[in-house]
């Protein structure tokens, strides 16, 4: 079969197509975005009629995927780690309903927070929901494990969590393709109450879920993803989860590892191999990308057990992603180092593009707010979050998708005036609309600025659900028409735009200012295509 050069994300996407996927659902989020993008641009996926549209948010994506599964077909939903928080209600309860067609939930974690607000470890969610988790170490495993994941999902009628991290998501390598499987036929669940979580039914189903979780820990078909690799030197035993295995292998070079190693790619992990490692080796080093999940499991109680080394005892740093040098140090190996970065090198943080509409919006906003003093603007997740940095220093929060609107409502309740929110168009339709409804219902004195660049900009310009709909959405939610103002953020309109902002800030009620100008990156790509 053909060999392809794929990002980890793309390997997952190609594997999903090849294993008979019928529907792909997602909301863009680094580092998961390329999974959907790959399937959207795949001619093969188009010919096969695979559904592959962006969803409004991760929750709607999760539920749509569950609906696809209801019809007996294979579905996938992909999101960044914090997206799983948004989808959590659907995710946890999909474990309770179980699935009909295979369902894979891909969560792409971002240790070191390259492009995120925290580094939560999605493996906790897998345990929380009692669903199996796959954690590949490289692109080929990512591809192969998708096939396994669909199998296990259908065997146990349970959704499967597929956990990757940034480094694998965005690293490219050769992947050998397998023979393609056919899509599943339409077939309703054999029990039409399977998805009805009334308490009496849910109690019964929960017992099944718990018992399946026990069975998974000893299912030899899938426990092959967890391997005991023996070594002569028992002074140390190593557990390597997912990607961390690569850093171990890097440090062992061509000679192989002299210590016994348990390589983990599937959870729940069979206990016998971990027990054997703990019994045979003097010390254990646990290498995992993210939280000390296995480390805590092996440590048990008391926490002072010195035999287990890892992130908790300082052998590895407590936060941030691993790399070959950190692992070398934990192994007691000397690792190289070039020269220090010279002092002349300055930091170069990301910044708004030259000519970006968000910048003009912030310039007007800063002037409109001059008389009120700083600290009055909540904001959200997107390129415009860069408005927190100089030269704008314009916003005072970035918490989670949609929080700008609701925090502004709460702060207005707390006596803050003015109370503003700055939110992007796509973020607004993701999770800002419900908050705006709250504001309308209580007639909160807030001003909501929707900085509409007609795309989902930060993740590379995906289609925004808000495009051409913002005015009617806001009016439909009950914002007075005369307080839905549209401005064009250009330097030449600066004074007029500032005046509009001043007027709406003064209005005692809910006002929305839509600051609309196409993202200059998207515009450039569009013009290039049109040429």
């Amino acid at each position: 079969m053909a060999k392809l050069m794929l990002l980890g994300d793309e390997a997952i996407a190609q594997a999903a197509i090849d294993s008979g996927l019928s529907g792909m659902y997602a909301y863009p989020g680094t580092p998961s975005t390329e999974i959907m993008e790959y399937i959207q641009s795949s001619e093969d996926a188009a010919e096969k009629g695979i559904h592959r549209d962006w969803s409004a948010n991760e929750k709607t994506a999760m539920e749509a995927a569950l609906g696809m599964s209801y019809t007996g077909k294979r579905a996938m939903v992909a999101m960044k780690h914090v997206g799983l928080n948004v989808a959590a209600d659907g995710f946890i309860n999909s474990a309770m309903t179980g699935v009909n067609g295979g369902l894979i939930v891909v969560a792409a974690d971002d240790p070191s927070m390259h492009s995120s607000q925290n580094e939560q470890d999605s493996r906790f969610y897998g345990k929380f929901a009692y669903v199996p988790i796959f954690e590949p170490s490289n692109q080929q495993e990512a591809y192969d494990m998708i096939f396994d994941a669909y199998e296990v999902s259908e065997k146990y009628k349970v959704p499967v969590l597929f956990r990757i991290t940034t480094r694998l998501a965005h690293s490219r390598s050769a992947v050998k393709q397998k023979k393609q499987l056919q899509q599943k036929e339409f077939s309703l669940p054999s029990d039409l109450r399977q998805f009805v979580l009334l308490p009496a039914i849910a109690r019964r189903k929960y017992k099944v879920l718990l018992s399946n979780y026990e069975s998974l820990a000893s299912d030899v078909d899938y426990q092959t993803n967890n391997r005991y690799i023996d070594g002569e030197d028992k002074s140390l035993g190593i557990v390597a989860c997912g990607l961390a295995y690569n850093y171990l292998a890097e440090n062992c070079k061509d000679r192989g590892c002299k210590y016994p190693v348990v390589k983990i790619g599937f959870y729940p992990v069979r206990e016998d191999i971990l027990a054997r490692l703990k019994a045979e080796c003097e010390e254990i080093l646990v290498l995992e990308e993210g939280f000390p999940v296995i480390e805590e499991l092996m440590r048990g109680f008391p926490r002072s057990d010195n035999k287990i080394k890892g992130r908790l005892d300082g052998s590895l740093q407590r936060d941030g992603e691993l790399n070959p040098n950190l692992v070398a140090k934990a192994l007691g190996l000397r690792s190289g180092y070039g020269k220090d970065v010279p002092d002349i090198v300055r930091k170069r943080p990301p910044s708004l593009c030259k000519g970006c509409g968000h910048a003009d919006m912030y310039n007007a906003l800063n002037e409109a707010l001059e008389e009120y003093g700083p600290g009055k603007v909540f904001s959200d997740i997107g390129c415009y979050t860069l408005g927190a940095l100089p030269p704008y220093n314009a916003i005072n929060s970035c918490v989670d998708m949609g929080a700008s609107v609701t925090m502004a409502v709460g702060a207005a309740d707390g006596g803050m005036f003015p109370s503003l929110a700055v939110i992007g168009d796509s973020t607004f339709t993701h999770s800002g609309m419900t908050g705006l409804l709250d504001a309308v219902i209580k007639n909160a004195h807030v001003t909501i600025i929707i900085s509409d660049n007609l795309t989902t900009g930060m993740t590379g310009g995906q289609k925004s659900h808000a495009t051409n709909r913002l005015e009617s959405i806001c009016a439909g939610l009950g914002v007075a028409k005369e307080h839905i103002r549209v401005i064009n953020p250009l330097r030449k309109n600066h004074e007029a735009n500032t005046a509009v902002m001043k007027e709406e800030i003064a209005y005692k009620g809910v006002s929305v200012i839509i600051s609309r100008r196409e993202c200059i990156q998207t515009a450039a790509r569009r013009k290039k295509k049109e040429r």
Partner: protein, 191 residues
């Protein structure tokens, strides 16, 4: 054989197209490779790098360990220096001399070039001018690849084939332009 390369620049300068050319050439030579890229927030005018690892045996880590890069190929001079901890003792630093200034405290270019000259094996190339002279500033990246090609263990012919493949859809004129840029870059160093 192993060839560990750090590609560096500023988000939007297109270091990934250099990576794509090396990638195609590596595949043609049946080599193993791993290439870690930066996507997302940093792409907005921030510093970006790609770890590119080529070998005749499977590559384990997606990231290059400190002190093991054989080459830093930078399309921007300050960004070239940011990755010195990765450069091996005998490694080469090949950089464009033209700064990309998007921060208020960007250092003096002369001082930067002085600092780069302190690196044992360095090659500073005025890629913008060379690209302009060969036909288009947009081929600056390929000029840089040409200059660095002496330190990449791939036949020149494979890089040329890769350019034909990468720019194939854009027509013969663009292919020729880039092949010229590659050749002009390569002339910047005589082994």
């Amino acid at each position: 054989m192993k060839n560990d390369i750090i590609l560096s620049g500023v988000g939007g300068q297109g270091i990934l197209s250099i990576a794509a050319v090396i990638g195609y050439a590596a595949v043609e030579n049946n080599l193993y490779l791993k290439q870690a890229e930066v996507h997302g927030m940093s792409q907005r005018g921030g510093d970006v790098q790609s770890h590119f690892r080529l070998a005749d045996k499977p590559v384990a880590s997606d990231l290059i360990p400190y002190g093991e890069a054989d080459l830093i190929l930078s399309v921007e001079p300050m960004e070239a220096l940011r990755y010195l901890p990765w450069l091996s003792e005998d490694g080469w630093l090949v950089t464009n001399s033209n700064p990309f200034v998007n921060i208020p405290d960007y250092p003096d270019t002369g001082d930067l070039l002085d600092e780069i000259s302190k690196v044992k094996n360095n090659l500073i190339v005025d890629a913008d001018t060379i690209a302009k002279d060969t036909g288009s500033v947009r081929a600056t990246n390929i000029v840089m690849l040409g200059a660095a090609s002496h330190f990449i263990e791939l036949p020149l012919e494979s890089l040329e084939n890769a350019i034909r493949k990468l720019f194939g859809r854009k027509g013969d004129e663009i292919i020729d332009l880039n092949l010229k840029a590659l050749a002009a870059g390569r002339e910047q160093y005589k082994p």
